[in-house]
Protein backbone atom coordinates (compact mmCIF):
# COMPACT_ATOMS: atom_id res chain seq x y z
CA UNK A 1 0.00 0.00 0.00
CA UNK A 2 1.28 3.49 -0.82
CA UNK A 3 0.22 6.53 1.16
CA UNK A 4 -0.98 9.07 -1.42
CA UNK A 5 -1.37 11.80 1.19
CA UNK A 6 -3.43 11.39 4.35
CA UNK A 7 -5.03 14.41 5.98
CA UNK A 8 -2.53 16.55 7.84
CA UNK A 9 -0.22 13.63 8.53
CA UNK A 10 2.06 12.67 5.65
CA UNK A 11 2.46 12.92 1.88
CA UNK A 12 5.43 10.68 1.06
CA UNK A 13 5.30 10.92 -2.74
CA UNK A 14 5.24 14.71 -2.55
CA UNK A 15 8.38 14.58 -0.44
CA UNK A 16 9.98 12.19 -2.93
CA UNK A 17 9.18 14.45 -5.88
CA UNK A 18 10.38 17.51 -3.98
CA UNK A 19 13.66 15.80 -3.14
CA UNK A 20 14.02 14.63 -6.76
CA UNK A 21 13.36 18.17 -8.02
CA UNK A 22 15.99 19.62 -5.70
CA UNK A 23 18.55 17.01 -6.68
CA UNK A 24 17.89 17.58 -10.40
CA UNK A 25 18.29 21.34 -10.01
CA UNK A 26 21.33 21.18 -7.80
CA UNK A 27 23.23 18.33 -9.45
CA UNK A 28 21.79 18.31 -12.98
CA UNK A 29 22.46 15.16 -14.99
CA UNK A 30 24.91 14.02 -12.33
CA UNK A 31 22.15 13.75 -9.76
CA UNK A 32 21.92 9.98 -9.77
CA UNK A 33 23.21 8.68 -6.46
CA UNK A 34 23.63 12.19 -5.06
CA UNK A 35 21.95 13.13 -1.78
CA UNK A 36 21.20 16.57 -0.31
CA UNK A 37 24.12 16.80 2.08
CA UNK A 38 24.34 20.30 3.59
CA UNK A 39 21.53 21.75 1.49
CA UNK A 40 19.66 24.32 3.57
CA UNK A 41 15.88 24.14 3.19
CA UNK A 42 13.50 26.66 4.76
CA UNK A 43 9.86 25.54 4.86
CA UNK A 44 7.51 28.51 5.24
CA UNK A 45 3.87 28.71 6.30
CA UNK A 46 1.17 26.45 7.62
CA UNK A 47 3.34 23.72 9.13
CA UNK A 48 0.54 22.80 11.55
CA UNK A 49 -1.81 21.50 8.86
CA UNK A 50 0.78 20.47 6.28
CA UNK A 51 1.37 16.84 5.35
CA UNK A 52 3.89 18.14 2.81
CA UNK A 53 6.00 19.79 5.50
CA UNK A 54 5.94 16.69 7.69
CA UNK A 55 7.02 14.26 4.99
CA UNK A 56 9.63 16.67 3.66
CA UNK A 57 11.11 17.21 7.10
CA UNK A 58 11.69 13.48 7.54
CA UNK A 59 12.94 12.75 4.00
CA UNK A 60 15.13 15.80 3.49
CA UNK A 61 16.83 15.28 6.83
CA UNK A 62 17.41 11.66 5.92
CA UNK A 63 19.10 12.83 2.71
CA UNK A 64 21.38 15.14 4.70
CA UNK A 65 19.62 18.46 4.24
CA UNK A 66 19.36 21.04 7.02
CA UNK A 67 15.67 21.79 7.44
CA UNK A 68 14.15 24.80 9.23
CA UNK A 69 10.54 25.90 9.70
CA UNK A 70 9.23 29.44 9.78
CA UNK A 71 5.63 30.39 10.52
CA UNK A 72 3.53 32.32 12.99
CA UNK A 73 3.58 30.34 16.25
CA UNK A 74 -0.12 29.62 15.78
CA UNK A 75 0.72 27.54 12.68
CA UNK A 76 3.52 25.52 14.23
CA UNK A 77 2.43 22.36 16.04
CA UNK A 78 2.90 22.18 19.76
CA UNK A 79 5.62 19.58 20.20
CA UNK A 80 7.49 20.63 17.05
CA UNK A 81 10.69 19.60 18.82
CA UNK A 82 9.91 16.04 17.67
CA UNK A 83 11.09 17.04 14.17
CA UNK A 84 14.50 18.16 15.35
CA UNK A 85 14.50 21.19 13.04
CA UNK A 86 15.18 24.86 13.79
CA UNK A 87 11.99 26.88 14.25
CA UNK A 88 11.67 30.58 13.45
CA UNK A 89 8.74 32.98 13.75
CA UNK A 90 10.04 35.89 11.68
CA UNK A 91 10.56 35.22 7.96
CA UNK A 92 13.12 37.97 7.39
CA UNK A 93 15.17 36.84 10.38
CA UNK A 94 14.89 33.24 9.20
CA UNK A 95 16.05 34.10 5.67
CA UNK A 96 19.02 35.96 7.11
CA UNK A 97 19.87 33.23 9.62
CA UNK A 98 19.40 30.18 7.38
CA UNK A 99 20.56 31.64 4.04
CA UNK A 100 18.52 28.89 2.39
CA UNK A 101 19.38 27.05 -0.80
CA UNK A 102 15.70 26.16 -1.06
CA UNK A 103 12.65 28.10 0.12
CA UNK A 104 9.57 25.91 0.20
CA UNK A 105 6.33 27.87 0.47
CA UNK A 106 3.20 26.17 1.77
CA UNK A 107 -0.36 26.86 0.76
CA UNK A 108 -2.55 28.85 3.17
CA UNK A 109 -5.97 27.26 2.99
CA UNK A 110 -8.97 29.53 2.93
CA UNK A 111 -10.57 27.98 6.00
CA UNK A 112 -7.57 29.00 8.14
CA UNK A 113 -8.35 32.62 7.43
CA UNK A 114 -11.48 32.61 9.56
CA UNK A 115 -10.11 30.48 12.36
CA UNK A 116 -8.00 33.10 14.15
CA UNK A 117 -4.61 31.58 13.33
CA UNK A 118 -3.64 35.06 12.13
CA UNK A 119 -5.57 38.34 11.83
CA UNK A 120 -6.10 38.39 8.05
CA UNK A 121 -4.50 37.70 4.71
CA UNK A 122 -2.88 41.11 4.46
CA UNK A 123 -0.96 40.63 7.67
CA UNK A 124 -0.03 37.08 6.66
CA UNK A 125 1.25 38.20 3.27
CA UNK A 126 3.18 41.09 4.79
CA UNK A 127 4.84 38.94 7.44
CA UNK A 128 5.21 35.47 5.92
CA UNK A 129 4.61 35.86 2.19
CA UNK A 130 7.43 35.51 -0.34
CA UNK A 131 6.92 39.01 -1.72
CA UNK A 132 8.78 40.29 -4.74
CA UNK A 133 11.06 42.24 -2.42
CA UNK A 134 11.89 39.22 -0.25
CA UNK A 135 12.38 37.14 -3.40
CA UNK A 136 14.92 39.63 -4.76
CA UNK A 137 16.80 39.35 -1.47
CA UNK A 138 17.37 35.61 -1.96
CA UNK A 139 20.54 34.20 -3.42
CA UNK A 140 20.53 33.99 -7.23
CA UNK A 141 20.56 30.21 -7.10
CA UNK A 142 18.05 29.79 -4.28
CA UNK A 143 15.21 27.57 -5.42
CA UNK A 144 11.60 28.56 -4.81
CA UNK A 145 9.28 25.58 -4.35
CA UNK A 146 5.57 25.27 -3.79
CA UNK A 147 3.46 22.08 -3.78
CA UNK A 148 0.57 23.93 -5.42
CA UNK A 149 -2.06 25.12 -5.87
CA UNK A 150 -0.68 28.56 -5.09
CA UNK A 151 -2.46 31.56 -3.60
CA UNK A 152 -0.70 34.25 -5.58
CA UNK A 153 -0.43 37.46 -3.57
CA UNK A 154 -0.91 35.62 -0.29
CA UNK A 155 1.93 33.22 0.38
CA UNK A 156 3.79 33.85 -2.86
CA UNK A 157 4.17 36.73 -5.30
CA UNK A 158 3.98 36.36 -9.09
CA UNK A 159 7.59 37.44 -9.39
CA UNK A 160 8.74 34.56 -7.20
CA UNK A 161 6.32 31.99 -8.60
CA UNK A 162 7.14 32.71 -12.25
CA UNK A 163 10.88 33.25 -11.91
CA UNK A 164 13.52 30.90 -13.33
CA UNK A 165 14.31 29.99 -9.72
CA UNK A 166 10.81 28.63 -9.28
CA UNK A 167 10.46 24.87 -9.61
CA UNK A 168 6.67 24.80 -9.36
CA UNK A 169 6.01 23.37 -12.85
CA UNK A 170 8.90 20.92 -12.62
CA UNK A 171 7.47 19.67 -9.35
CA UNK A 172 4.24 18.83 -11.17
CA UNK A 173 6.09 17.12 -14.04
CA UNK A 174 8.44 15.26 -11.73
CA UNK A 175 5.44 14.19 -9.69
CA UNK A 176 4.24 12.07 -12.55
CA UNK A 177 7.58 10.35 -12.98
CA UNK A 178 8.16 9.83 -9.27
CA UNK A 179 4.72 8.35 -8.75
CA UNK A 180 5.17 6.07 -11.75
CA UNK A 181 8.39 4.90 -10.20
CA UNK A 182 6.75 4.32 -6.84
CA UNK A 183 4.00 2.26 -8.43
CA UNK A 184 6.48 0.36 -10.53
CA UNK A 185 8.70 -0.47 -7.57
CA UNK A 186 5.74 -1.39 -5.41
CA UNK A 187 4.01 -3.64 -7.95
CA UNK A 188 6.77 -4.98 -10.15
CA UNK A 189 9.44 -5.33 -7.52
CA UNK A 190 7.08 -7.27 -5.26
CA UNK A 191 6.38 -9.74 -8.08
CA UNK A 192 10.08 -10.32 -8.54
CA UNK A 193 10.40 -11.05 -4.84
CA UNK A 194 13.26 -8.58 -4.45
CA UNK A 195 13.77 -4.80 -4.46
Amino acid sequence: MVNAGDGTHEHPTQALLDAFTMRRRLHGLASRGQDLDGVRVLIVGDILHSRVARSNAWLLKTLGAEVAFVAPPTLIPNGVAAFGVDVHYDLDEALAAVRPDVVMMLRIQQERMNAAFFPNGREYARSWGLSAERFRGLGEKTLVMHPGPMNRGLEISDEAADSPQSTVLEQVTNGVAVRMAVLYLTLAAANQGAL
Binding site: P72, P73, N78, F118, N120, E123, S127
Partner: protein
Protein backbone atom coordinates in the same frame (compact mmCIF):
# COMPACT_ATOMS: atom_id res chain seq x y z
CA UNK B 1 17.79 73.58 27.10
CA UNK B 2 19.41 73.80 30.49
CA UNK B 3 21.24 71.12 32.42
CA UNK B 4 20.01 70.48 35.95
CA UNK B 5 22.11 70.02 39.05
CA UNK B 6 20.02 68.29 41.70
CA UNK B 7 21.64 68.97 45.06
CA UNK B 8 21.60 66.64 48.04
CA UNK B 9 19.03 64.08 46.92
CA UNK B 10 18.67 60.72 48.62
CA UNK B 11 18.73 57.64 46.40
CA UNK B 12 16.60 54.59 47.10
CA UNK B 13 19.58 52.89 48.78
CA UNK B 14 19.86 55.83 51.21
CA UNK B 15 22.99 57.33 49.69
CA UNK B 16 22.91 61.13 49.51
CA UNK B 17 24.26 62.62 46.32
CA UNK B 18 24.14 65.46 43.84
CA UNK B 19 22.87 64.50 40.41
CA UNK B 20 23.90 66.35 37.28
CA UNK B 21 21.67 65.71 34.28
CA UNK B 22 22.12 66.97 30.74
CA UNK B 23 21.89 65.72 27.20
CA UNK B 24 19.15 63.32 28.28
CA UNK B 25 21.34 61.36 30.68
CA UNK B 26 22.74 61.46 34.18
CA UNK B 27 26.16 63.02 33.65
CA UNK B 28 27.56 62.78 37.14
CA UNK B 29 26.82 61.70 40.69
CA UNK B 30 28.73 62.76 43.79
CA UNK B 31 28.87 65.23 46.63
CA UNK B 32 29.56 68.91 46.09
CA UNK B 33 29.18 68.78 42.33
CA UNK B 34 29.15 72.18 40.70
CA UNK B 35 28.29 73.29 37.21
CA UNK B 36 27.84 76.98 36.57
CA UNK B 37 25.71 76.52 33.49
CA UNK B 38 23.23 74.19 35.19
CA UNK B 39 20.02 75.12 36.95
CA UNK B 40 20.34 74.12 40.57
CA UNK B 41 17.54 72.29 42.35
CA UNK B 42 17.66 71.96 46.11
CA UNK B 43 16.69 68.37 46.79
CA UNK B 44 17.84 68.03 50.38
CA UNK B 45 15.56 65.60 52.14
CA UNK B 46 13.98 64.52 48.86
CA UNK B 47 14.07 60.99 47.52
CA UNK B 48 15.29 60.61 43.93
CA UNK B 49 13.72 57.67 42.11
CA UNK B 50 14.00 56.62 38.50
CA UNK B 51 10.92 57.99 36.73
CA UNK B 52 7.86 55.87 37.43
CA UNK B 53 6.48 53.66 34.65
CA UNK B 54 2.80 52.78 34.51
CA UNK B 55 1.90 49.62 32.63
CA UNK B 56 -1.84 50.26 32.76
CA UNK B 57 -3.23 53.70 31.91
CA UNK B 58 -6.39 54.78 30.13
CA UNK B 59 -5.72 57.94 28.15
CA UNK B 60 -9.16 57.83 26.47
CA UNK B 61 -8.02 59.46 23.23
CA UNK B 62 -9.14 58.90 20.51
CA UNK B 63 -12.85 58.86 21.17
CA UNK B 64 -13.46 59.83 24.77
CA UNK B 65 -11.74 63.19 24.94
CA UNK B 66 -14.40 64.38 27.39
CA UNK B 67 -12.75 62.22 30.05
CA UNK B 68 -9.09 62.54 29.16
CA UNK B 69 -6.74 63.23 26.27
CA UNK B 70 -3.21 62.02 25.66
CA UNK B 71 -2.04 65.47 26.74
CA UNK B 72 -4.11 65.73 29.93
CA UNK B 73 -3.38 62.14 30.92
CA UNK B 74 0.32 62.77 30.33
CA UNK B 75 0.09 65.78 32.65
CA UNK B 76 -1.59 63.67 35.32
CA UNK B 77 1.19 61.12 34.92
CA UNK B 78 3.98 63.67 35.28
CA UNK B 79 2.25 65.15 38.34
CA UNK B 80 2.35 61.70 39.90
CA UNK B 81 6.05 61.27 39.17
CA UNK B 82 5.64 59.10 36.08
CA UNK B 83 7.88 59.40 33.04
CA UNK B 84 6.22 56.67 30.98
CA UNK B 85 2.73 55.29 30.60
CA UNK B 86 1.32 52.41 28.58
CA UNK B 87 -2.00 53.47 27.10
CA UNK B 88 -4.74 50.86 27.01
CA UNK B 89 -6.40 50.02 23.72
CA UNK B 90 -10.07 50.59 24.61
CA UNK B 91 -10.35 53.91 22.82
CA UNK B 92 -12.74 54.61 19.96
CA UNK B 93 -11.67 53.59 17.40
CA UNK B 94 -10.05 50.77 19.29
CA UNK B 95 -6.26 50.61 19.07
CA UNK B 96 -6.34 47.49 16.90
CA UNK B 97 -4.54 48.80 13.82
CA UNK B 98 -1.17 50.40 13.15
CA UNK B 99 -2.86 53.73 12.37
CA UNK B 100 -4.39 54.17 15.80
CA UNK B 101 -1.33 53.16 17.81
CA UNK B 102 0.88 55.42 15.71
CA UNK B 103 -1.51 58.30 16.33
CA UNK B 104 -1.52 57.76 20.10
CA UNK B 105 2.26 57.54 20.13
CA UNK B 106 2.56 60.73 18.06
CA UNK B 107 0.19 62.61 20.38
CA UNK B 108 2.25 61.47 23.35
CA UNK B 109 5.52 62.47 21.74
CA UNK B 110 4.10 65.90 20.92
CA UNK B 111 2.74 66.48 24.45
CA UNK B 112 6.17 65.60 25.82
CA UNK B 113 5.32 65.06 29.50
CA UNK B 114 5.97 61.32 29.46
CA UNK B 115 6.87 58.49 27.11
CA UNK B 116 3.54 57.21 25.82
CA UNK B 117 3.63 53.58 24.73
CA UNK B 118 0.42 52.43 23.07
CA UNK B 119 -0.95 49.02 23.99
CA UNK B 120 -2.50 47.13 21.08
CA UNK B 121 -5.82 45.31 21.24
CA UNK B 122 -5.67 41.52 21.18
CA UNK B 123 -8.91 41.16 19.25
CA UNK B 124 -10.52 43.32 16.58
CA UNK B 125 -12.72 45.90 18.26
CA UNK B 126 -12.10 44.15 21.62
CA UNK B 127 -14.86 41.81 20.50
CA UNK B 128 -12.99 38.66 21.47
CA UNK B 129 -13.50 36.81 18.20
CA UNK B 130 -10.78 37.69 15.65
CA UNK B 131 -7.15 38.58 16.27
CA UNK B 132 -6.34 42.22 15.62
CA UNK B 133 -3.45 43.21 13.34
CA UNK B 134 -0.91 42.39 15.99
CA UNK B 135 1.98 42.06 13.55
CA UNK B 136 1.20 45.36 11.89
CA UNK B 137 1.14 47.10 15.27
CA UNK B 138 4.32 45.39 16.43
CA UNK B 139 6.22 46.46 13.31
CA UNK B 140 4.64 49.93 13.09
CA UNK B 141 6.46 53.08 14.17
CA UNK B 142 4.81 52.58 17.58
CA UNK B 143 6.59 49.18 17.96
CA UNK B 144 3.82 47.81 20.20
CA UNK B 145 4.99 45.15 22.64
CA UNK B 146 2.03 44.91 25.04
CA UNK B 147 -1.32 43.61 23.84
CA UNK B 148 -4.51 43.71 25.88
CA UNK B 149 -8.27 43.77 25.52
CA UNK B 150 -8.44 45.43 28.94
CA UNK B 151 -11.94 46.42 29.85
CA UNK B 152 -12.88 43.09 28.35
CA UNK B 153 -11.46 39.66 29.04
CA UNK B 154 -10.10 37.48 26.24
CA UNK B 155 -12.63 34.91 27.37
CA UNK B 156 -12.71 32.41 24.48
CA UNK B 157 -10.04 29.88 25.44
CA UNK B 158 -9.14 29.09 21.83
CA UNK B 159 -8.70 32.74 20.90
CA UNK B 160 -6.65 33.19 24.07
CA UNK B 161 -4.41 30.33 23.09
CA UNK B 162 -3.90 31.63 19.58
CA UNK B 163 -3.32 35.16 20.84
CA UNK B 164 -0.65 33.99 23.29
CA UNK B 165 1.06 32.06 20.50
CA UNK B 166 0.79 34.79 17.90
CA UNK B 167 2.02 37.56 20.21
CA UNK B 168 4.97 35.38 21.23
CA UNK B 169 6.15 35.51 17.61
CA UNK B 170 6.60 39.28 17.93
CA UNK B 171 8.31 39.22 21.32
CA UNK B 172 5.29 40.76 23.01
CA UNK B 173 3.30 40.09 26.13
CA UNK B 174 -0.43 39.57 26.52
CA UNK B 175 -1.88 41.53 29.46
CA UNK B 176 -5.09 39.83 30.45
CA UNK B 177 -8.07 41.46 32.13
CA UNK B 178 -9.17 38.34 33.99
CA UNK B 179 -12.93 38.33 34.22
CA UNK B 180 -15.12 35.41 33.19
CA UNK B 181 -17.92 37.34 31.46
CA UNK B 182 -20.72 34.88 32.07
CA UNK B 183 -20.06 34.87 35.81
CA UNK B 184 -20.14 38.66 36.01
CA UNK B 185 -23.14 39.70 33.98
CA UNK B 186 -24.47 42.93 35.45
CA UNK B 187 -22.00 42.71 38.34
CA UNK B 188 -21.88 45.78 40.56
CA UNK B 189 -19.57 44.92 43.45
CA UNK B 190 -17.65 42.12 45.15
CA UNK B 191 -19.88 39.12 45.75
CA UNK B 192 -20.25 38.32 49.43
CA UNK B 193 -22.16 39.25 52.54
CA UNK B 194 -22.18 42.94 51.72
CA UNK B 195 -23.53 42.45 48.21
CA UNK B 196 -26.16 40.16 49.69
CA UNK B 197 -27.16 42.86 52.17
CA UNK B 198 -27.13 45.69 49.67
CA UNK B 199 -28.91 43.64 47.04
CA UNK B 200 -26.33 44.51 44.38
CA UNK B 201 -25.35 41.96 41.73
CA UNK B 202 -22.13 40.26 42.79
CA UNK B 203 -18.75 39.97 41.01
CA UNK B 204 -17.46 36.70 42.49
CA UNK B 205 -13.75 36.19 43.13
CA UNK B 206 -13.92 32.92 41.20
CA UNK B 207 -14.66 34.83 38.00
CA UNK B 208 -11.15 36.28 38.22
CA UNK B 209 -9.39 33.27 39.68
CA UNK B 210 -10.75 30.75 37.16
CA UNK B 211 -9.51 32.83 34.22
CA UNK B 212 -6.08 33.33 35.77
CA UNK B 213 -5.79 29.60 36.44
CA UNK B 214 -6.73 28.79 32.85
CA UNK B 215 -4.39 31.43 31.45
CA UNK B 216 -1.28 30.50 33.40
CA UNK B 217 -1.71 26.90 32.23
CA UNK B 218 -2.31 27.98 28.63
CA UNK B 219 0.66 30.33 28.63
CA UNK B 220 2.89 27.61 29.95
CA UNK B 221 1.54 25.08 27.43
CA UNK B 222 2.32 27.28 24.43
CA UNK B 223 5.51 28.79 25.89
CA UNK B 224 4.23 32.35 25.92
CA UNK B 225 4.56 35.25 28.33
CA UNK B 226 1.45 36.29 30.30
CA UNK B 227 0.85 39.41 32.36
CA UNK B 228 -2.17 39.51 34.67
CA UNK B 229 -3.78 42.92 35.07
CA UNK B 230 -5.20 44.31 38.34
CA UNK B 231 -5.14 41.19 40.53
CA UNK B 232 -7.77 41.76 43.20
CA UNK B 233 -8.37 38.62 45.27
CA UNK B 234 -6.50 36.43 47.75
CA UNK B 235 -7.37 33.41 45.62
CA UNK B 236 -5.77 34.95 42.53
CA UNK B 237 -2.60 35.48 44.55
CA UNK B 238 -2.57 31.77 45.40
CA UNK B 239 -2.94 30.79 41.75
CA UNK B 240 -0.14 33.11 40.64
CA UNK B 241 2.10 31.96 43.47
CA UNK B 242 1.56 28.38 42.32
CA UNK B 243 2.28 29.26 38.67
CA UNK B 244 5.50 31.02 39.63
CA UNK B 245 6.56 28.11 41.83
CA UNK B 246 6.30 25.93 38.72
CA UNK B 247 8.48 28.35 36.78
CA UNK B 248 5.77 29.66 34.47
CA UNK B 249 6.58 32.93 32.65
CA UNK B 250 3.87 34.98 34.38
CA UNK B 251 3.86 38.47 35.84
CA UNK B 252 1.12 40.30 37.71
CA UNK B 253 0.11 43.76 38.77
CA UNK B 254 -1.97 45.21 41.59
CA UNK B 255 -3.55 48.66 41.59
CA UNK B 256 -3.00 51.18 44.38
CA UNK B 257 -6.72 51.17 45.16
CA UNK B 258 -6.82 47.42 45.69
CA UNK B 259 -3.95 47.85 48.16
CA UNK B 260 -5.86 50.39 50.22
CA UNK B 261 -9.63 50.40 49.78
CA UNK B 262 -12.22 47.76 50.65
CA UNK B 263 -15.74 46.93 49.56
CA UNK B 264 -17.21 48.60 52.67
CA UNK B 265 -17.00 51.89 50.78
CA UNK B 266 -19.71 50.67 48.41
CA UNK B 267 -22.30 51.18 51.13
CA UNK B 268 -21.82 54.94 50.69
CA UNK B 269 -23.18 54.51 47.14
CA UNK B 270 -20.55 57.06 46.13
CA UNK B 271 -19.75 55.97 42.57
CA UNK B 272 -16.12 57.09 42.91
CA UNK B 273 -15.70 53.70 44.59
CA UNK B 274 -17.13 51.77 41.66
CA UNK B 275 -14.32 50.07 39.80
CA UNK B 276 -13.64 46.92 37.84
CA UNK B 277 -12.49 44.56 39.28
CA UNK B 278 -14.38 45.78 42.32
CA UNK B 279 -12.99 46.68 45.73
CA UNK B 280 -12.70 43.48 47.74
CA UNK B 281 -12.60 42.38 51.40
CA UNK B 282 -9.92 43.43 53.86
CA UNK B 283 -8.56 39.84 53.75
CA UNK B 284 -7.94 40.35 50.03
CA UNK B 285 -6.18 43.66 50.65
CA UNK B 286 -3.91 41.97 53.18
CA UNK B 287 -3.15 39.13 50.76
CA UNK B 288 -2.36 41.58 47.93
CA UNK B 289 0.01 43.56 50.14
CA UNK B 290 1.77 40.38 51.22
CA UNK B 291 2.01 39.21 47.61
CA UNK B 292 3.53 42.50 46.46
CA UNK B 293 5.96 42.29 49.37
CA UNK B 294 7.11 38.75 48.58
CA UNK B 295 7.27 39.27 44.79
CA UNK B 296 4.32 37.08 43.84
CA UNK B 297 2.84 40.27 42.43
CA UNK B 298 5.55 41.98 40.41
CA UNK B 299 4.38 45.55 40.02
CA UNK B 300 1.94 48.28 40.90
CA UNK B 301 -0.01 49.68 37.94
CA UNK B 302 -2.59 52.43 38.28
CA UNK B 303 -5.46 51.42 35.98
CA UNK B 304 -5.96 55.21 35.79
CA UNK B 305 -9.51 55.37 34.43
CA UNK B 306 -10.85 58.89 34.01
CA UNK B 307 -14.59 59.45 33.68
CA UNK B 308 -16.67 62.59 33.23
CA UNK B 309 -18.66 63.90 36.18
CA UNK B 310 -21.89 62.81 34.45
CA UNK B 311 -20.68 59.22 34.21
CA UNK B 312 -20.11 59.14 37.95
CA UNK B 313 -22.79 61.39 39.49
CA UNK B 314 -25.66 59.01 38.99
CA UNK B 315 -27.12 55.96 40.69
CA UNK B 316 -24.64 53.16 41.43
CA UNK B 317 -25.91 50.70 38.83
CA UNK B 318 -25.57 53.17 35.99
CA UNK B 319 -22.24 54.68 37.02
CA UNK B 320 -19.09 53.95 35.05
CA UNK B 321 -16.35 51.72 36.44
CA UNK B 322 -12.98 53.25 37.16
CA UNK B 323 -10.87 55.67 39.19
CA UNK B 324 -8.12 58.09 38.32
CA UNK B 325 -4.89 57.01 39.94
CA UNK B 326 -1.76 58.45 38.36
CA UNK B 327 -1.44 61.46 40.65
CA UNK B 328 -1.93 59.48 43.86
CA UNK B 329 -0.17 56.17 43.10
CA UNK B 330 3.17 56.80 44.80
CA UNK B 331 1.51 58.22 47.91
CA UNK B 332 -0.82 55.22 48.19
CA UNK B 333 2.10 52.82 47.78
CA UNK B 334 3.98 54.70 50.51
CA UNK B 335 0.96 54.52 52.81
CA UNK B 336 0.12 50.86 52.23
CA UNK B 337 3.54 49.31 51.67
CA UNK B 338 6.34 51.51 53.01
CA UNK B 339 4.77 53.05 56.10
CA UNK B 340 3.61 49.54 57.05
CA UNK B 341 7.16 48.21 56.75
CA UNK B 342 6.33 45.79 53.94
CA UNK B 343 8.56 47.41 51.30
CA UNK B 344 11.67 49.57 51.31
CA UNK B 345 12.28 52.33 48.78
CA UNK B 346 14.44 50.10 46.59
CA UNK B 347 11.44 47.79 46.36
CA UNK B 348 9.21 50.74 45.44
CA UNK B 349 11.68 51.63 42.71
CA UNK B 350 11.42 48.06 41.46
CA UNK B 351 7.62 47.74 41.50
CA UNK B 352 6.88 51.19 40.09
CA UNK B 353 9.73 51.69 37.62
CA UNK B 354 12.23 48.92 36.90
CA UNK B 355 9.90 45.96 36.59
CA UNK B 356 7.02 47.64 34.72
CA UNK B 357 9.52 48.94 32.16
CA UNK B 358 10.96 45.45 31.80
CA UNK B 359 7.59 43.75 31.41
CA UNK B 360 6.42 46.30 28.83
CA UNK B 361 9.82 46.47 27.08
CA UNK B 362 9.73 50.25 27.55
CA UNK B 363 13.07 51.47 26.25
CA UNK B 364 14.98 54.25 27.99
CA UNK B 365 12.98 53.86 31.20
CA UNK B 366 13.16 51.95 34.45
CA UNK B 367 16.90 52.10 35.10
CA UNK B 368 18.53 52.68 38.47
CA UNK B 369 19.92 56.21 38.72
CA UNK B 370 23.62 56.09 37.89
CA UNK B 371 26.10 57.84 35.60
CA UNK B 372 24.87 57.31 32.05
CA UNK B 373 21.36 56.27 33.03
CA UNK B 374 18.53 58.09 31.26
CA UNK B 375 17.54 61.43 32.79
CA UNK B 376 14.16 60.11 33.90
CA UNK B 377 13.96 61.12 37.54
CA UNK B 378 11.31 61.79 40.14
CA UNK B 379 11.98 63.81 43.27
CA UNK B 380 9.65 62.85 46.08
CA UNK B 381 9.12 64.30 49.54
CA UNK B 382 8.20 61.37 51.76
CA UNK B 383 8.10 63.41 54.97
CA UNK B 384 4.93 65.41 54.36
CA UNK B 385 1.36 64.36 54.98
CA UNK B 386 -1.40 66.22 53.27
CA UNK B 387 -5.08 66.07 52.58
CA UNK B 388 -5.33 64.91 48.97
CA UNK B 389 -7.65 67.22 47.08
CA UNK B 390 -8.77 68.24 43.62
CA UNK B 391 -5.79 70.57 43.33
CA UNK B 392 -3.54 67.51 43.39
CA UNK B 393 -5.19 66.14 40.26
CA UNK B 394 -3.86 67.22 36.90
CA UNK B 395 -5.91 65.22 34.41
CA UNK B 396 -9.26 66.11 32.96
CA UNK B 397 -11.35 64.04 35.37
CA UNK B 398 -11.65 64.13 39.14
CA UNK B 399 -13.05 60.69 39.91
CA UNK B 400 -10.45 60.00 42.58
CA UNK B 401 -11.41 57.91 45.61
CA UNK B 402 -8.78 59.67 47.71
CA UNK B 403 -10.19 63.19 47.74
CA UNK B 404 -10.12 64.57 51.29
CA UNK B 405 -8.14 61.59 52.52
CA UNK B 406 -4.84 61.98 54.32
CA UNK B 407 -2.04 60.68 52.14
CA UNK B 408 1.69 60.78 52.77
CA UNK B 409 4.27 62.20 50.40
CA UNK B 410 4.31 64.57 47.48
CA UNK B 411 6.04 64.61 44.09
CA UNK B 412 8.22 67.72 44.02
CA UNK B 413 9.78 67.38 40.60
CA UNK B 414 9.77 65.11 37.58
CA UNK B 415 12.42 65.08 34.85
CA UNK B 416 11.74 63.38 31.51
CA UNK B 417 14.30 63.26 28.71
CA UNK B 418 16.45 65.62 30.76
CA UNK B 419 13.93 68.44 31.00
CA UNK B 420 11.53 69.22 33.85
CA UNK B 421 7.86 68.35 33.58
CA UNK B 422 7.12 69.12 37.23
CA UNK B 423 9.02 71.65 39.36
CA UNK B 424 8.21 72.75 42.89
CA UNK B 425 5.28 70.35 42.89
CA UNK B 426 3.69 72.15 39.92
CA UNK B 427 3.43 71.10 36.30
CA UNK B 428 5.70 72.95 33.90
CA UNK B 429 3.81 74.92 31.26
CA UNK B 430 2.69 72.74 28.39
CA UNK B 431 4.11 74.84 25.58
CA UNK B 432 7.53 74.81 27.24
CA UNK B 433 7.36 71.04 27.71
CA UNK B 434 6.31 70.54 24.08
CA UNK B 435 9.17 72.74 22.94
CA UNK B 436 11.67 70.71 24.96
CA UNK B 437 10.20 67.46 23.66
CA UNK B 438 10.65 68.68 20.10
CA UNK B 439 14.24 69.68 20.81
CA UNK B 440 14.98 66.26 22.32
CA UNK B 441 13.37 64.48 19.37
CA UNK B 442 15.56 66.35 16.91
CA UNK B 443 18.69 65.80 18.99
Amino acid sequence: MTDYLIKGATLSDDRTTDILIGGGVVKALGSNLSEVAATEIDASGLLALPGLVDLHTHLREPGFEGSETVLTGSRAAAKGGFTAVNAMANSSPVADTAGVVEQVQALGDRAGYVTVRPIGAVSQGLAGTHLSEIGAMATSRARVRVFSDDGSCVADPLLMRRALEYIKGFGGVLAQHAQEPRLTIGAQMNEGELSATLGLAGWPAVAEEAIIARDVLLAHHVGARLHVCHVSTAGSVEVIRWAKSRGFDVTAEVTPHHLLLTEDLVSTYDARYKVNPPLRRSEDVEALRAALADGTIDIVATDHAPHTAEAKSCEWDNAANGMVGLESALSVVQKTMVDTGLLGWQDVERVLSLKPAAIGRVEGQGQVIGVGSPAEITLYDRSVTRSFDVGDLAGKSINSPYLERELPGRVEATFHGGYATVLGGRLVDESLVAEHALAVASR
